[in-house]
Symmetry: C2
Subunit: 207 residues, 2 copies
Amino acid sequence: MLVNMTVNEFAEELASDSPAPGGGSVAAVSGTLGAGLVSMVCRLTIGKKKYEAVEELMTQTLSEVETHRQALGRLVDEDTDAFNQVMAGFKLPRDTDEQKAERGRAIQLAFKQAADVPFSVCRHCVAVLKLIDAIAGKANANALSDLGVAGEAAMTGLRGAAMNVRINLPAITDTDYTAEKNQQVRQLLDDAAMIKSRIDRIIEDGL
Amino acid sequence: MLVNMTVNEFAEELASDSPAPGGGSVAAVSGTLGAGLVSMVCRLTIGKKKYEAVEELMTQTLSEVETHRQALGRLVDEDTDAFNQVMAGFKLPRDTDEQKAERGRAIQLAFKQAADVPFSVCRHCVAVLKLIDAIAGKANANALSDLGVAGEAAMTGLRGAAMNVRINLPAITDTDYTAEKNQQVRQLLDDAAMIKSRIDRIIEDGL
């Protein structure tokens, strides 16, 4: 599993001439690291007398962001698996009409999975951005830049995963599916841009 | 070393209540993963008949981006080491005037290092963005989203590291140093914003 590689091995594997892992897995890694920083910031705030008033908010945020961190960690490998399934689909035999039909169905299914996985990454990253928005300006001020980096990393997770959804859509023949995904991704990007500019203002004011 | 932890362990360590590793190391990881994706995109372009005309550009880019990828990989640990040096400085004895002076010097030196390391991350990330700019629209079109994610990751590396430079400056008493670093970081962010918007246009057109 990719997440059981060291950071150095993962970067080496990325840099190789194999197309997987690629940008989809990097987007998920970015999301999981952003979520990890949010957890740290919550933990550096909880139990501090100065931040007593926000203790409940931090405890709640920590519990939620940990769910997203773990989900994003799983999606690192799921993205590469989904890509490999597409490649496997193309290698299926196509000698008979039956084989051709079966191959076509397998490829379509695999492409939908290859769009669904980064779409999940998008949703988790937007959830992380919302949690950052909820605690920005309230969490331990010593960890302000950590929260700022968390916002950048979650945004890279979202924008990177959105590219990976979109690049798979032209190959999918189910136009109801592609229209819906296109619209949903656009909505998530719009929502996130608003949230992110609020976060940026708070970080900028504090630096 | 952090880079010898698995991706999962690194995310767990981040999420802990220890302030290091924190955002500075995540910025460097983001930069090194972005650079890794650029290497992959170059390698997926080199040797392909369709991209013969850009073979030399890809080979040159690959060689340069690998230098930045490796430097950014080293900076992951250097950032956490620099942070720990600041903490160590604060723990030095301050019973005598001599100890107080020595402690003050150690802290100042450590804070400068804690700003210099993320400043290096900034510079390497801008260099990676310039390389992406040079190959965007020319590299293997099948890896378009990978190059797009590389741009996002390099930008997170830059912006995240810039926050880590800036958060350390108020503690530094050498005002020539802080004024220079402030100005240099602002310049890098401005340069990168222009480069990034060019990259975004090419990615958007291709998706």
